[in-house]
């Protein structure tokens, strides 16, 4: 009998403790939720980047671009229309994984209460992170993902600053047309080699479409799995057998290096090689590839020699270099630009709503982004400006084409208004070069 009462007493005690704990937790939760409010002393922006994982190297570059833009904005007086409050960045690490990107987006939106999100480099991560933003009605500024699908989803809160792969492909056709005009119709056949992740596959798809439409013959398409590639011997052999005039390449770093080496090893030199940035413009590639990389064209969004062409850029780059010890590159420059674009929209939004009323402010910011029209001369990018269409795609952006010359540096060769060198065409055979 004693044991029965004891056990009842124990159960009651445990139940009481549990209820007290739960009630306490809920109360704490409600209190926590109510913290903040009042006067806004900063405008919080969430930035999601691959700060760990395979793409951490790129992530670090992107982070520097954002950080530098924010520093500049704040030191010139913050968001003036909101009373000169500074922008604060809250970082989110996607670890390169779509699911982490999504949960970071949610954390930044609900826990950190950011006014907008910026990111997330990889298209797969941008997909999930921007989806969360869309549901929460938070503007998402994407400076750096190029999958065309992103702006085909009908999202209202998603704004992509950079041109996407289909736009690049169209521009690359224009570039090849221009080469043909200039050097006498030497390019008729095209081959494509690409890694098989979403990025490479979509790029290849866009190329195939654009080049076929423009009357070029696509003679061979080869794809490989970058994560496990140990040799590209047969891939290159297959390309060589197809004997194209132009080789289009979408590759990451390791495979880009491997591809160039294998092409040299197999003495495969088409008249031109045109790469889709990525691997070909990473610092490790540029440092490591040496003479083997000469004369290869790459589509770029940005290049150091634009300094001579874009006056604002030199200034920015000098300051950036002084701080980080390196030049801006396509990645850091795009994210830098993305942050500035957001800033211009913030100035407009502040005229319509107060940041303390978060929902209204986010909505105003979205409208500001949708109506934004930034002229090209306010940017460091070789663009005609920033103006979003109904899908949130910047219609005024464009790429450039660069070519690595004998000093191991890339020079802009196209469009002509930004060009600092004449292109070398056709590419000299491997056996006839120095280095």
């Amino acid at each position: 009998m004693g044991s029965l009462t004891r056990s009842i007493a124990r159960n009651v005690a445990i139940a009481v403790i549990v209820i007290v704990v739960v009630v306490g937790l809920l109360a704490a939760a409600v209190l926590l939720r109510q913290r903040g409010g009042g006067e806004v002393t900063e405008i919080k922006v969430g930035v999601i980047l691959p700060l760990s994982g395979k793409l951490a190297e790129t992530g670090a570059d992107l982070r520097d671009g954002i950080e530098f833009a924010v520093d500049q904005i704040n030191s010139q007086g913050g968001v003036k229309a909101c009373g000169g409050v500074p922008i604060t960045v809250v970082w989110g690490d996607s670890a390169g994984k779509p699911e982490t990107g999504a949960s970071e987006a949610e954390r930044l939106i609900t826990q950190e209460k950011v006014v907008a999100l910026v990111g997330a480099y990889q298209s797969a991560v941008t997909k999930t992170a921007s989806e969360v933003a869309e549901r929460y009605h938070v503007p998402f500024v994407n400076p750096d993902s190029t999958s065309p699908a992103l702006t085909q989803r009908g999202y209202k809160w998603f704004f992509r600053v950079t041109p996407h792969d289909a736009m690049f492909a169209a521009q690359q056709v224009e570039f090849v047309n221009w080469l043909n005009q200039k050097f006498g119709n030497q390019i008729k056949t095209v081959a494509i080699i690409h890694e098989d992740s979403e990025w490479g596959s979509k790029v290849a798809e866009a190329w195939q479409q654009a080049f076929t439409q423009a009357g070029y013959q696509v003679v061979k398409v080869v794809k490989y799995h970058a994560a496990t590639v140990t040799s590209l011997d047969s891939e290159v052999a297959a390309l060589k057998a197809a004997n194209p005039d132009l080789l289009l390449v979408a590759a990451y770093v390791q495979d880009a290096i491997l591809l160039v080496r294998t092409m040299k090893a197999q003495n495969f030199a088409p008249k031109a090689v045109l790469a889709q940035d990525a691997g070909f413009i990473t610092p490790s590639y540029k440092e490591q590839v040496g003479a083997d990389g000469w004369y290869i064209f790459s589509r770029e969004v940005f290049n150091w020699d634009l300094l001579e062409k874009i006056s604002r850029l030199k200034e920015v780059n000098d300051a950036y270099k002084a701080k980080y010890g390196k030049d801006l590159n396509g990645n850091s420059a795009r994210d830098y630009t993305g942050m500035w674009v957001l800033y211009y929209a913030l100035e407009e939004a502040c005229k319509k709503a107060k940041p303390s009323d978060l929902d209204a402010f986010r909505s105003a910011l979205r409208d500001a982004l949708a109506n934004l029209n930034i002229p090209g001369d306010k940017l460091i990018m070789p663009w005609r400006g920033v103006k979003f269409d109904a899908n949130g795609q910047n219609t005024l952006g464009q790429g450039i084409v660069v070519q690595m010359m004998e000093d191991g540096k890339y020079y802009t060769v196209y469009p002509e208004e930004f060009a600092t060198k004449e292109p070398v065409f056709p590419m000299p055979p491997w056996t006839e070069r120095g280095g």
Binding site: H225, D233, A238, V253, Q254, A265, T282, Y285
Partner: protein
Amino acid sequence: MVSEIDVISAIINGILVGSIYSLVAMGLALIWGVMDVINFAHGDYMMLGGFIAYALYLAGLDPLVAVPVAFGAIFLTGVATQRLVINPVLEAPLVSQIAATFALLLMIRYGAEAAFGPYTRLVKVSYAETIHLGGITIFVPQLIGFVFSIFVALLLYLFLTRTYVGIALQATSQNREAAQLLGINVKRMYDLAFGIGVGIAAIAGVLLTTFYPLFPEEGGFFTLLAFIIVVLGGFGSVFGSYIGGLIIGVVETVSALFITPSLKDVVAFIIFIVMIMVRPTGLFGKKE
């Protein structure tokens, strides 16, 4: 579409790249055979070898100088690993063994990433030339790698069959208890097997740097390949693993030629599964 010369060329290139797989697999086979442990971190020791080569390259030396250095350094690392990590779990259930070597994988691979950064590095050797033989092109560093790999395989063969220690190692893998009764210190054999096994993988890593980019995560796929090769060549058969490596190299290049290259690994994995189903002793393996 595919011409004869392409096929021949694919086969030759397959053999060249396969000879590196072979080295990695031989080391795995040695460890597997002597200790009955599957080393999931095997390819990561290979990667460490690559970084040693890179360090010497930065110091102005030819990366091939690193062959003995990497072997020595990784041998010692391997002996230390065997004593601290492998030996305590030798008698444990399979799941603990796998957990332990998997922990090693995480520590080595991501330790290297923390220490050196995730960046890709490239070594530029003066002999990065190509030879052309009637439509077939051969990249000299790969050829040198092939020659080295044969040389190392031969050395290992001689060591295992001509020296007392080597024979003792083989003896241990065939009958642990009988080996003990002949005065062979089995613990010492484990040290040696693990040390030499990962040491050879490190040599493969060095050779690889002369024609393949170096990065901290490069080992993962090589470990998977090594499993395939060891099973193909015959579990515990060091010689079989060498041939198995060449076969997998050729299978990859040739299947890349005939089906889409991004599926060439599927072919290798399917061969692997079929192999363990129909003939788990491998092509050159011993019956149980």
